[in-house]
């Protein structure tokens, strides 16, 4: 809070010398969950500020631009603890902030959106990748900045098919998100001409992610688990729950590459991405947050930048004009992806290229060359207009 005040004072000094009029204040809320989901790899362990760190950078960027436009941006964060009422928190945040960036699981996001529906507060979904939020459960007051599972799966499938790795061994975790990802991968295989030669389920029998003699055991388990598979080109793992996928590379019975939740991973952002001017935002991010930028950080950055783009173009901090601007057919935002990002008008999903990364380098960026579309090649990723179940009202 104190820091927030100092920032405001510093800005007002800059602004007052140049402008006689009162500055326009744009207040953005950030609604997330407390605690982090543990990852198998220690180096991928998310920070406590995963996500909001990106929003903070965008607020800083917006304030740099705002100096020239007499606009000031503020960010207020609420983290929900287990059992806390998301609707109540969303209402409280909306009392003070016109627009809210949300990093919530699907059900919580829907509760927040419905709680804010009558007061017309807009939510920018920077976390949840569930397709249903853009399909049967879509909401007219939610813009989706995070990509969907189907966009991620399609991005991966296009590359695997381009690479002529068309025979997939699909290994699915036993939790609900893993199954949803597997659904998206099956759909992608059908769309782009890959064949799932066999499916296996990796049961989560519980246990710690970190043990003192973990490797020895894993080295015995993984080859056995993957043996006697029909001929395949690539093992595709659906393991959003972080139970087994990262154990697969170099340990399969047959020497095969891994993709999906480990190996070659589709994502909206990676710390290794440096094309299209991205090195500049990577440098700015590291300078501000003393760590590297994750996909969640980038999704939150993009959400907050979209707000800044709208306020600078409309010269207004009014949440309704921000929302109207974002929904205009000519809206686009630059986010270091080599092309403009635009909104799908049928479900308010941000179109975006998807990076394919191996943890150290960017391997490729989808859509792949040759996957054509009559409107935008970005619409070869995810659920397209003719297939949508979304009705916005």
């Amino acid at each position: 809070m104190i820091r927030w005040l100092i920032g405001a004072i510093g800005l007002s000094i800059v602004a007052s010398s140049a402008f006689a009029a009162d500055p326009i204040d744009i207040r953005v809320g950030y609604l997330g969950q407390a605690g982090i989901k543990s990852k198998l790899s220690l180096v991928e362990q998310p920070s406590e500020n995963d996500g909001i760190a990106g929003a903070r950078l965008a607020i800083e960027d917006n304030n740099t631009t705002g100096k020239f436009l007499n606009q000031r941006f503020f960010l207020e964060e609420i983290r929900l603890k287990d059992g806390e009422d998301v609707a109540k928190a969303a209402m409280a945040l909306a009392d003070r902030n016109g627009i809210i960036i949300a990093d919530l699981p699907a059900d919580a996001l829907l509760k927040a959106a419905d709680a804010l529906r009558d007061r017309k507060t807009v939510l920018l979904n920077a976390g949840a990748i569930d397709d249903r939020l853009r399909e049967q459960d879509c909401r007219a007051n939610v813009i989706h900045v995070a990509p969907t599972r189907s966009m991620l799966a399609d991005a991966l499938a296009q590359y695997l098919v381009w690479k002529q790795w068309k025979r997939w061994l699909l290994v699915v975790g036993s939790h609900e998100p893993d199954k949803l990802y597997a659904d998206a991968l099956r759909r992608a295989a059908t769309r782009f001409g890959a064949k799932i030669v066999q499916e296996r389920v990796f049961e989560d029998t519980g246990g710690a992610r970190r043990t003192d003699s973990g490797v020895t055991l894993i080295q015995r388990q993984m080859p056995v688990f993957t043996q006697a598979a029909p001929a395949y080109d690539v093992l595709v793992a659906a393991d959003e729950s972080e139970v087994f996928a990262s154990y697969l590379p170099y340990r399969t019975w047959d020497p095969r590459p891994i993709a999906g939740s480990a190996g070659l991973v589709p994502t909206s952002w990676d710390a290794a991405h440096d094309q299209w001017g991205a090195i500049q935002i990577q440098n700015r991010f590291v300078k501000l947050n003393s760590r590297r930028m994750t996909a969640r950080d980038m999704q939150a950055w993009t959400a907050a930048r979209m707000i800044g783009e709208a306020t600078s173009r409309t010269n207004s901090g009014d949440p309704k004009s921000v929302f109207d601007f974002l929904k205009r057919p000519d809206f686009s935002v630059a986010a270091f992806k080599g092309q403009r990002l635009t909104l799908r008008d049928w479900n308010l999903q941000l179109r975006q290229p998807i990076l394919l990364v191996d943890g150290r380098m960017i391997v490729s960026v989808s859509p792949q060359e040759g996957f054509l579309h009559q409107y935008s090649e970005l619409d070869t990723l995810g659920v397209d207009r003719p297939e949508t179940k979304c009705k916005l009202n």
Binding site: D61, T64, T65, F68, L69, G277, Q280, I281, N283, R284, R305, E309, S312, R313, S332, V333, A334, G338, Q339, R340, S376, E377, L378
Partner: protein, 323 residues
């Protein structure tokens, strides 16, 4: 003196024997960390000069003796002696210099520093930094008005053209343009300022006196998706009648009627076309093709691509000495 006599003697001899004067172009190769020297008489690379890391912005000094090249990953601008083709000096820019411009006298250099939202002013004679100007996020394009009074800087994430008074070194106006403005170019008579927006896919025409947008150049290439049209480099003929705009991954240079601001023709060049420079006689326009690693030569009066010259990896900037 003796050398100058000899050189001018040679120039006379060249003029007498060859149909056109031979010019020399310097091309920065972003990936291979080299600068290629092109002889326009032979249409071939005659020298390749090793420079620092990630060379991009490149320009001759006003006296034509040196070429300055921004080597962004080394946080400086290197100076190449055109007589020896060696890097002989470096200038203290801010972090990650990309594009720069100099005043008419060749005394001051204005550099866009992408990493810290500043434009740095360098005294070229004393080789010292004179100061910094705070601009928007990710400063990039730089242009000086023909009378030298106004410096334009474009900032890529702020999406503005900043008008900076060169006397007071303060921003006097900011004009919002379309997304990711990358390059700015004045008409010689100061009647117009053109700013290209890479992600927005347009070129904004600004009135430099009123400091407002008066028009936009739009591009529409049948069979090509809109997102692939990404305007970057701009060149306008001295008479202000014709403009050329590099369209990045659209692999084309748009020829624009600079009076009506309508595209009259699209010239197919190499892949991801970046920047461009006229030969001093304006007979040819050379454009760098970032992905196909070559330079296309456009015959300006005929509006045709006549040649392709292989250079280093990922060519980016290009400059000619003014006679």
């Amino acid at each position: 003196m003796w050398r100058r006599c000899l050189l001018s003697g040679m120039a006379v001899w060249l003029a007498a024997t060859s149909p056109a004067l031979a010019f020399v172009a310097y091309v920065s190769n972003e990936k291979s960390n080299t600068v290629s020297v092109i002889d326009t008489d032979k249409w071939a690379v005659t020298h390749t000069i090793k420079v620092g890391q990630r060379p991009r912005g490149i320009e001759f000094t006003k006296n034509g003796k040196f070429v300055m090249v921004a080597v962004g990953d080394d946080d400086k601008i290197e100076v190449i002696d055109t007589a020896t083709h060696q890097v002989v000096d470096s200038l203290p820019s801010g972090p990650d210099p990309e594009l720069f411009t100099q005043d008419a006298a060749g005394k001051l250099l204005y550099v866009a520093n992408e990493n810290d939202n500043t434009v740095t002013i360098i005294d070229l004679e004393k080789r010292v930094r004179l100061g910094d100007i705070q601009v928007g996020v990710e400063p990039e394009g730089m242009a000086l008005s023909p009378d030298g009074k106004i410096l334009i800087n474009t900032s890529e994430t702020t999406n503005m053209a900043h008008f900076i008074d060169t006397a007071t070194r303060e921003i006097v106006a900011n004009v919002l343009v379309d997304a990711r403005p990358r390059y700015a170019e004045f008409k010689r008579d100061s009647s117009e300022l053109w700013v290209s927006s890479e992600i927005g896919g347009t070129v904004s025409i600004l009135d430099p006196a009123k400091r407002t947008i008066t028009g936009k150049i739009e591009f529409n290439i049948p069979g090509l998706r809109r997102e692939a049209i990404q305007p970057v480099g701009i060149a306008i003929t001295k008479d202000g009648k014709t403009g050329f705009i590099a369209l990045g991954p659209a692999n084309r240079v748009a020829v624009v009627d600079a009076t009506t601001h309508k595209v009259t023709k699209y010239l197919l060049v190499g892949q991801r076309v970046w920047h461009m420079a006229f030969t001093p006689d304006e007979k040819y326009l050379l454009v760098t093709n970032g992905v196909s690693n070559d330079v296309s030569v456009i015959d300006v009066p005929a509006q045709k691509v006549i040649k392709t010259i292989q250079v280093g990896e990922l060519p980016w900037g290009i400059t000619f000495a003014q006679p």
